[in-house]
């Protein structure tokens, strides 16, 4: 049987096909189809696997949800909420888009006239202050239907503490709503903090019609092609879920593709013997950094897709700065060279694409210095890149104002861009309390490996590991990812008065629901596991510490930890974070978080390694490439033809269809047992 991972990005759709019987793999890259991405999806698979009945599993990393959010192309939806609270979604947490300037505005995804209030109120302790008026709820729902709403979100205050009012309203709406797109805040996120819960729920409703339609189209097209296996979607948490679950909870797919990439990076790096790695994806407009420590990626509790568009759900933590290949280099009135945040993206793209942009970008600088091949642009969309136009743009916009020739100006652009990327890596490590020097760097995406050497030099990292197929990392991650379901429940109790049995009951409920989802999936799991964590703090603090709990399950029953065990676990976690504990502090449990994980069998990454070959046979001539302040006659190699164990000293360039690996003077490139390229300082330079 075959297993297929498909990552649909903004420009390309990547396909990774694993033949489980032979242990071999192949990749494919096709343009993403717009506006309906299913065309490219099916083409990309079909070109490699004509007979879909051979396929056991298709796993999809999707940007359908992300794009709908960023481009505000979700459905027309309505909101039914507690009396007095219709504006919570629009008021946010009283923030602003930018610190300086006081400009900028916010349009919520649900306009004010489609946010309706009904009489109802629950208090923070769960007491029902005002029972819900179901006639008013039905009338509101009917009004939203009359206004053409395709989905509705039910957002009641304190529904995390007692969902009765909200559940009754949701049931009444479901009875009359003509489709399944009814989202309830306590079902989506039973966690304290109304704006974050309401926003997550409303964005879920906003995405439901679009994403469920898209997934249904894909599913039926796959089935028509003879596919009889399982169709899974990667979630922002780096785990996969059934397509049906994703259609119901599309907000959990907001960072699907990038999350899959980080999962792949964790697996590749750990297999290669480097469990501490920082990934860097150089895209058209941004540089995305993620940190993996001990083989585990870091989960962030929430993210903002755009100003005021908060999604609170566990997601792989990815930090983005505006320094990608398309970022524009410019000199300000004070004479300082800046990179970004403005970007030419992939359309019109860098000057060398000749699609209308005349301001120089990072890619133009790489081109002018010979680091990328003008005659064989990666991606295959263009025939050649225009070096002269790029040189001219760099001269006009950077060289002349700074008094530099175009080559030195191009070097300057890269130095400033590299310095910003290195800064992002340092900051991400510091924020997580790590010294960046003990990490390896893993570039992925088409452009990352051009900047790997600079990251080693700037941050002081010992090595970089370039995966065999850096351009299809997310598709590979789809095949690797485990099934994972996350749950949360706000508890809000001080530990001396905590009802440990009740807490155990919530754990049981989470684990049961997770087990049911795993059982319902067609996948075979190597093993199942769970993670149980409490968000805890001292009374009076609002920021919490994640406290991992060892929870044993015997015969399907949770053995609930007692108060003493919880206190001890908090002290340990608090001490690890802050280096001390308070002798007199009152400990509070804010939230319970559980995850249920079905571990899918991992394939041996050695399947990707090259067989045979020689360095000589991989040689592909030379090119003039500029490093520092001089040109080097630089040998080129076809990267995929290099044998395992090959070692090549820089300066050299390793090329493959979707990536260029730049090996700077002073570095050595080595092909490891998995086909990865390891970049390190030359032995005699250490």
């Amino acid at each position: 049987m075959k297993m297929i991972g498909v990552d649909v990005g903004g420009t390309f759709t990547d396909v990774f096909v694993l033949n489980e019987s032979t242990g071999t793999a192949e990749v494919n890259k096709v343009p993403t189809s717009r506006p309906d991405q299913s065309g490219g999806f099916l083409d990309g698979i079909g070109q490699r696997v004509p007979d879909l009945s051979e396929v056991g599993v298709v796993v999809h990393g999707t940007t359908a949800g992300t794009n709908a959010l960023l481009e505000r192309k979700g459905a027309r939806i309505g909101v039914i909420t507690s009396a007095g609270l219709r504006d919570v979604l629009e008021m946010r947490r009283r923030d602003r888009p930018r610190t300086w300037g006081l400009r900028g505005n916010f349009d919520p995804v649900v306009p004010r006239d489609l946010r309706l209030e009904v009489p109802e109120r629950t208090l923070a302790d769960g007491t029902i202050d005002t029972p819900v008026d179901l006639d008013a709820v039905r009338a509101a729902a009917q009004r939203l239907l009359d206004q053409g709403c395709l989905a509705v979100a039910v957002l009641f205050a304190n529904a995390y503490a007692n969902p009765a009012n909200e559940a009754a309203a949701t049931e009444a709406i479901r009875a009359i709503w003509p489709n399944p797109h009814v989202s309830s805040s306590a079902e989506i996120l039973p966690e304290i903090r109304e704006f974050e819960r309401f926003s997550t729920t409303a964005l879920n409703a906003y995405l439901q019609p679009e994403v469920s339609g898209y997934l249904a189209r894909l599913d039926s097209a796959l089935r028509e092609g003879g596919f009889g296996g399982e169709f899974l979607i990667v979630g922002s948490n780096g785990g996969v879920m059934e397509a049906e679950t994703a259609a119901d909870r599309p907000v959990r797919t907001a960072l699907s593709g990038p999350a899959a990439g980080v999962m792949a990076a964790a697996h590749i790096a750990t297999s290669a013997g480097f469990p501490d790695v920082i990934t860097g994806d150089v895209g058209g407009t941004s540089f995305d950094v993620s940190l993996i420590a001990g083989g585990e990626s870091v989960l962030a509790p929430q993210t903002s897709i755009d100003f005021g568009m908060v999604v609170r759900a566990p997601m792989i933590e990815i930090t983005t700065i505006g320094a990608g290949g398309g970022s524009i280099a410019w000199v300000d009135k004070g004479g300082l060279l800046n990179i970004g945040p403005e970007s030419a993206g992939s359309t019109p793209g860098p000057v060398c694409y000749r699609q209308g942009n005349t301001r120089p970008t990072v890619t133009d600088a790489n081109l002018v210095l010979g680091r990328i091949d003008a005659d064989n642009p990666i991606g295959g969309k263009l025939d050649r890149l225009d070096v002269e136009a790029a040189t001219q743009a760099i001269a006009t916009h950077v060289g002349d104002p700074l008094g530099l020739d175009p080559i030195m100006a191009a070097e300057a652009i890269l130095r400033v861009a590299n310095s910003r990327m290195a800064g992002a890596i340092r900051l991400v490590s510091i924020e997580r309390g790590h010294d960046p020097k003990r990490f390896a760097f893993m570039p992925f995406g088409g452009g990352g490996a051009l900047h790997a050497g600079a990251m080693l030099a700037e941050v002081g990292l010992a090595r970089a590991i370039v995966p065999r197929y850096p351009g299809v990392t997310s598709a590979l991650g789809c095949v690797i990812a485990d099934m994972r379901h996350d749950f949360v429940q706000t508890i809000n109790a001080a530990t001396p008065t905590l009802d440990a049995a009740a807490l155990g009951g919530v754990m049981q409920d989470h684990l049961d629901r997770g087990a049911a989802l795993l059982a319902a999936a067609g996948s075979e799991f190597e093993r199942r596991s769970h993670v149980v964590e409490l968000d805890m703090a001292y009374a009076g603090q609002t920021h919490t510490v994640a406290v991992p709990l060892e929870v044993t399950v015997q015969g399907g029953h949770v053995i609930a930890p007692d108060r003493c065990q919880i206190d001890a676990a908090f002290d340990a976690a608090y001490h690890a974070t802050y280096g001390r504990v308070l002798k007199t502090g009152l400990r509070r449990v804010i939230n319970l978080r559980s995850a249920v994980i079905g571990h899918r069998p991992k394939f041996d990454l050695r399947a990707l390694a090259p067989e045979g070959g020689t360095i000589e046979a991989a040689r592909r001539g030379t090119r003039q490439v500029h490093f520092g302040d001089s040109w080097y006659e630089t040998t080129l190699y076809d990267r995929l033809s290099l044998p395992v164990g090959a070692e090549i000293d820089g300066p050299t360039i390793l090329t493959q269809p979707d990536t260029t690996v730049l090996v700077e003077p002073g570095l050595t490139a080595r092909v490891d047992d998995f086909g990865n390229t390891i970049l390190e300082a030359k032995a005699n330079d250490i």
Partner: protein
């Protein structure tokens, strides 16, 4: 001065900003108290060894600290010069607002940085501590008549002497706060941030050499100055005046004028606050450092691309006469400094709008509305204390933001559910306030309505706000927003405070409510120029009542609505 090549300059500019950013990140992660950890009420940077001028400052701290930190460093420079005992490894600490600006809650740590035995620059860290003694927990005391009633006042002293922590200083500090654990956590975080700054600077100087880094710092200051001068030179010469008023100082019910004359000559600017009210008994005074820092905040909002260093202020002179409310002497109370600097920003915007309307936004809501409700529950005291939001001003590029934070801050509001879980209250309304925005071609953003009901038997409240009598103004022909309105329920009905937005000792019984209706932002440009379709949309969305729409914008919108 050594000339520096443009590539190295660009790289060093980023590297040094990063050092300050990493210091911010270190403290945010280590701080115990949520005011620093979550609201980021802190700041770090590198400062001149000669006069304390800001060389580089982190991007994540509060806006008002950009500019005020230089005074903290200058205070330490003066202290060290007087004592003559500055040495490597020293760290000074103080909170005296008359020397360092803002208020006494902000604890400032200043550390000289030596290279090869010579003073190279200063590193500093400021953070808002949870409690520093004084009459009221948390140090917001609207009735304070002097600094001593606000907090424990610490002048610059050596907390660390040549690398050795002075335990007696630490003991004094910890004995003067109600929350010593929190204070110690924050202090450790600040010391850690300074350590990290030293480590990063060491590495940077090893790599580039002190001469090159010094040259880069000089060049960055010069470049900021050049940028500021080029902005000013592009504007016509002239003098523009503006005035606005604080309702009162909370003690005597007299309006307090804030006046500015903005004068541009060539590439220089004078901001003259002569004519503003003299120092007052209540806590709306500010010290001179705060005034200068506030000028910097206004300028940076008008020119948001300017860098955060002292070069920006070189072509700018800030004039304040002695004895002014804006140059108050120790020990005048300064706890309510936020209200005063918000009004200063407003008048600077109004003056600048007369010469460069495209660059300026109309007034924001102009008050932080510190509302506190306190009582006893199960024998234990509780205090709900928070600041509330309002609308931002309209601008040439669009309508103002609904429900934003204050221009001097980036802090977010606590979630309603967190407040309801922690205190015996229920919010009956947490909503936008229709008709609160100033009309204009681009209208202001809407203010908010918060209505809070007490669930316990009794409690007392106080409010320290502003804009109860003088609404946020429009610019470029835009109209004023609604004034701040506070009301509270008693057995005989609803009342409003005699001194508008300030009141102490409001006594509440179970089921009674307080209601805060905050101002929107001022409008930009004449209301007659607003697209009637947008007016019709605002009416349809309930941002604007039909009556107010017709009153401010005429009847054209009604045709579109039909």
């Amino acid at each position: 001065m050594q000339a520096i090549d443009p590539i190295t300059l660009a790289v060093l500019a980023g590297r040094m900003e990063q050092i300050a950013d990493e210091m911010d990140a270190t403290l945010f992660r280590a701080a115990f108290n949520p005011i620093i950890a979550e609201a980021h009420d802190a700041s770090h940077g590198l400062y001149s060894s000669v006069n304390g001028d800001t060389l580089v400052q982190g991007k994540s701290g509060l806006p008002i600290f950009v500019g005020v930190m230089a005074f903290a460093v200058k205070a330490v420079i003066d202290k060290a010069a007087a004592d003559g005992d500055l040495e490597d490894g020293d760290v000074y600490i103080f909170n005296d607002a008359h020397l360092g600006g803002t208020h006494l809650s902000d604890m400032r740590l200043v550390r000289p940085y030596f290279r090869d035995g010579k003073l190279f620059c200063y590193l500093a860290s400021v953070g808002h501590w949870h409690d520093v003694g004084g009459a009221v927990p948390g140090n917001y005391n609207p009735a304070a008549r002097d600094a001593f009633q606000e907090a424990f006042v610490l002048p610059p002293v050596k907390l660390v002497r040549g690398g050795a922590l002075q335990n007696d200083i630490l003991d004094i500090l910890m004995r003067n706060t109600r929350l010593p654990q929190s204070a110690e956590g924050d202090l450790n975080g600040q010391l850690g941030a300074l350590d990290l700054g030293v480590k990063r600077l060491d590495a940077l100087l090893d790599e580039y050499g002190p001469e090159t880094v010094k040259a880069a710092l000089d060049a960055l200051g010069d470049r900021a100055e050049t940028l500021m001068r080029s902005e000013l030179a592009a504007l016509p010469d002239g003098r523009w005046e503006a005035e606005d008023f604080l309702d009162n100082d909370g003690i005597t019910d007299t309006p307090l004028p804030i006046r500015v004359a903005l004068e541009i000559t060539g590439d220089r600017m004078v901001l003259d606050f002569t004519g503003s009210a003299p120092a007052v008994a209540g806590p709306v005074n500010i010290a001179l450092p705060t005034t200068v820092a506030c000028a910097y905040v206004a300028i940076k909002h008008i020119f948001p691309d300017l860098p955060a260093n002292a070069g920006v202020m070189r072509p700018i002179e800030v004039k304040v006469p002695d004895g002014s409310m804006l140059s108050a002497e120790f020990p005048a109370p300064t706890g309510g400094y936020t209200e005063t600097i918000l009004r200063m920003i407003d008048v600077m915007f109004s003056a600048a709008a007369q010469v460069a309307p495209d660059r300026v936004v109309a007034h924001a809501y102009g008050t932080i509305n510190a509302l506190s409700i306190a009582g006893q529950r199960g024998g234990k005291p509780w205090v709900m204390f928070s600041f509330y939001g309002g609308g931002h001003g309209g601008s040439s590029t669009g309508d103002g933001l609904n429900h934003g934070n204050a221009p001097i801050s980036t802090a977010t509001i606590p979630p309603m559910e967190i407040l309801e879980a922690a205190y015996p209250v229920v919010f009956r309304q947490w909503a936008l306030r229709p008709d609160s925005a100033g009309a204009g071609a681009q209208r202001g953003g809407l203010g908010a309505v918060y209505e809070i009901e007490l669930l316990e038997e009794e409690a007392t409240g106080f409010l320290f706000g502003e804009r109860g009598r003088f609404p946020p103004q429009g610019v470029a022909g835009g109209e004023t927003a609604a004034v701040n309105r506070f009301s509270y329920e008693q057995t005989d009905g609803w009342h409003e405070p005699p001194m508008a937005s300030k009141m102490l000792g409001i006594s509440l019984k179970k089921g009674q409510r307080v209601r805060l209706e905050t101002p929107g932002g001022g409008g930009y440009g004449p209301a007659s120029e607003r697209d009637p379709a947008l007016v019709a949309r605002d009416v349809a969305q309930g941002y604007l009542s039909a009556e107010a729409a017709t009153e401010h914008y005429g009847a054209a919108w009604q045709e579109i609505a039909q």
